[in-house]
């Protein structure tokens, strides 16, 4: 063939870049794509959006400096198309890619391809991601770092016979999880041997379908725990800080419904221990950029490591509000090689923040997704209210992606005040044309047990929705 150099001129811009990026490609959609555009604008960095035909015409795309259609609506043909995204990055002259959450954000192969193409992946190194992104290897990493873990299988489940044996040692109930999983896909609880056998089969099938990886493992099922996760960020100079914890115990089918910081009723000593544990793990794993260390906390405030989310999370705004930081900007800075802008002592946790995910789902019909056109929208506002959303009156919610249409976040001096402000804001929130989870949000915020901080990860399903 002939020399590629002939045609390389147009990507020169990408090659000889200065310490900070001039252009970043955003390999995501919806509210997180908009969130990243906002961070880049504030850093003076140009943005390149990529979109599927299902998102063509969405307003947030017009806020990017450039936008490329990368395929049809199906995510597998667009937002998961590594080749097209890399190519869009090259032709647009972007020097880095922010993957947001979901889609390719925890795909180590994608991170590796970026590196090979001399594109900075805004996230952990593919090695760290591969190690901590995989639940089994993450678990052993946690053990090495002296981070308490839930007793369970050391590796993947190979055959039912071995599984049944291990289960007997751990003791039922047993939780079956997909090694590549997330968002509850490929998860099963088994209370006896027959449930275990069937559960392993179902989980493996589900995992294969969802993640193209049928590997599953088992662990002791801690009954009615709280979900507490620690936000941390590391630069490439060996500095790691935590930004305190978030409590996401209000869940439905492993989907978080409310996230808050700080965690209610968690003793100061435990907060410090759990945050220190997360930092230990990040350091041990040589982790860089932002990540979240998820724990379950039992009634005696014992905490067990569950997994690391090697990416920014949906609920990052609650941490931004209580710590007065901008995590997306920080991600970009450390990805560009800058030192962390803070030392640990700079990170104070002030007041209380709560986030509600607004999903276009029908709470009266088993939370079935409700795509359609938003015919009327009155967003709440005023003191203490932050809204991260890409939707507007007339926006048509595409049926191809997850149902979250925005996040309502409040920050007030106390938890009680935050709950009051959130209820006030939810009462102002008018959205017509689609059903949303707003009624459920009101129900949760008015619930005496939630107000008392006396809930666990099964509370919504077992108690609140059972009422």
């Amino acid at each position: 063939m002939f020399s590629i150099a002939d045609y390389r001129t147009r990507t020169a811009k990408r090659r000889n870049y200065k310490p900070m990026f001039q252009r970043i490609l955003i390999a995501n959609r919806g509210e997180i794509a908009l969130r990243i555009i906002r961070a880049c604008k504030e850093l003076g960095i140009e943005t390149v959006a990529v979109f599927s035909e299902g998102d063509r015409g969405a307003h947030y795309l017009s806020l990017a400096d450039d936008a490329f259609c990368i395929g049809p609506a199906a995510a597998s043909e667009s937002y998961l198309q590594i080749k097209r995204i890399i190519s869009a990055c090259e032709v647009s002259g972007a020097q880095a890619i922010h993957p947001g959450y979901g889609f390719l954000s925890e795909n180590a192969h994608f991170a590796e391809v970026c590196k090979e193409c001399k594109i900075t992946f805004i996230g952990p190194s593919h090695e760290a991601m591969a190690r901590l992104g995989d639940k089994v290897t993450a678990r052993s990493a946690a053990m090495e770092a002296k981070v308490p873990t839930v007793p369970g299988t050391e590796g993947l489940v190979t055959d039912d016979k071995a599984a049944l044996k291990t289960a007997k040692q751990i003791g039922y109930p047993i939780l079956i999880k997909a090694t590549a999983g997330g968002g509850g896909k490929g998860m099963r609880v088994a209370r006896d041997e027959s449930e275990l056998v069937s559960g392993l089969k179902q989980a493996a099938q589900e995992a294969e379908k969802a993640f193209k990886n049928a590997g599953v493992y088992m662990e002791k099922y801690v009954e009615n725990p709280r979900h507490v996760e620690v936000q941390f960020i590391a630069d490439t100079h060996g500095n790691v800080v935590h930004l305190w914890e978030r409590d996401c115990s209000m869940q439905r089918k492993h989907q978080k419904l409310i996230e808050e910081s700080p965690s209610p009723n968690l003793p100061k000593k435990v907060r410090e221990e759990i945050c220190a544990a997360a930092v230990r793990l990040a350091k041990a794993a040589n982790y860089t950029n932002a990540g979240t260390c998820e724990f379950i906390v039992d009634k005696e405030n014992n905490f067990y490591f569950i997994e690391v989310n090697a990416r920014i999370q949906v609920e990052h705004p609650v941490t931004e509000l209580v710590t007065d930081t901008d995590l997306i900007q920080a991600q970009i800075r450390v990805a560009a090689g800058e030192e962390l802008p803070w030392k640990q002592k700079d990170i104070e946790c002030r007041g209380h923040a709560i986030e509600i995910r607004i999903n276009a789902e029908d709470p009266d019909n088993d939370f079935r997704g409700c795509p359609g056109t938003i015919t009327k929208l009155r967003l709440p506002g005023g003191p203490g209210v932050r809204i991260d959303s890409h939707v507007y009156e007339g926006y048509r919610i595409p049926p191809y992606y997850d149902s979250m249409i925005g996040k309502l976040i409040v920050h007030r001096p106390t938890r009680q005040a935050a709950i009051t402000t959130m209820l006030r804001a939810l009462d102002e929130f008018v959205i017509e044309g689609v059903k949303t989870t707003i009624p459920l949000a009101k129900l949760m915020l008015r619930d005496a047990n939630f107000v008392a901080g006396n809930v666990h990860t099964k509370y919504v399903e077992q108690t609140l929705l059972a009422k």
């Binding site: 063939m1 002939f2 590629i4 002939d6 045609y7 147009r10 990529v50 979109f51 035909e53 063509r56 015409g57 969405a58 307003h59 795309l61 017009s62 936008a67 490329f68 259609c69 990368i70 395929g71 049809p72 667009s78 080749k83 097209r84 995204i85 890399i86 190519s87 869009a88 090259e90 032709v91 647009s92 193409c117 359609g372 056109t373 938003i374 015919t375 009327k376 507007y392 009156e393 007339g394 926006y395 048509r396 044309g433």
Partner: protein, 165 residues
């Protein structure tokens, strides 16, 4: 004139016009008159309603226009030229990358305006991730227009050539 047309057994358009104007003036949507063997049926909707229907979509009529409005604007900078799509078949880009008309800068282009193409005729290269993909026409016909320039970045689905079949 009225009588004349009556005799002629035909319709009195003047009186139909009169009725239509009446309907319009009073926002009447339907008139259905029957007498003996004679029958008149007239229907109309207020202009707004007609527009709404036209631009229908899923949205309820009285909002149908709003949802449509943002799309064209926001899409404008990022949508391949609509007219191209409009008149006649086009060869679209199957991927994102850099468009090249010739195998090398020094060689002649794969096709020119006027070139005849078959489905398997290579019409251009699109480079993605250092790989040069040969793009076949996938239809038969004659190239009538080349819609992008050599070296341009193209997105998925972007029209590259217009073809007369």
């Amino acid at each position: 004139m009225a009588d004349k047309t009556q005799e002629a057994g035909s319709f009195d358009l003047e009186r139909v016009r009169e009725l239509i104007e009446m309907m319009e003036a009073h926002g009447v949507t339907e008139v259905n008159l029957r007498k003996a063997d004679e029958r008149w049926v007239l229907r109309r909707g207020p202009a707004e309603v007609i527009n709404m229907m036209a631009s229908g979509g899923y949205a309820p009529p009285n909002y149908a226009t709003a949802p449509q409005a943002p799309a064209p604007q926001a899409a404008a900078p990022i949508t391949p030229a609509v007219p191209a799509v409009a008149d006649g078949p086009v060869i679209k880009s199957p991927t994102v990358g850099t468009f090249y008309l010739s195998p090398t800068p020094t060689e002649p282009p794969f096709v020119k305006v006027g070139s005849a193409v078959k489905p398997d005729t290579v019409v251009c290269l699109i480079e993605a991730m250092k790989v040069f993909n040969q793009i076949p026409a996938e239809i038969s016909g004659t190239i009538t227009e080349i819609l992008v320039n050599n070296g341009d970045a193209v997105e998925y689905g972007q029209p590259l050539f217009r073809v007369k079949t």
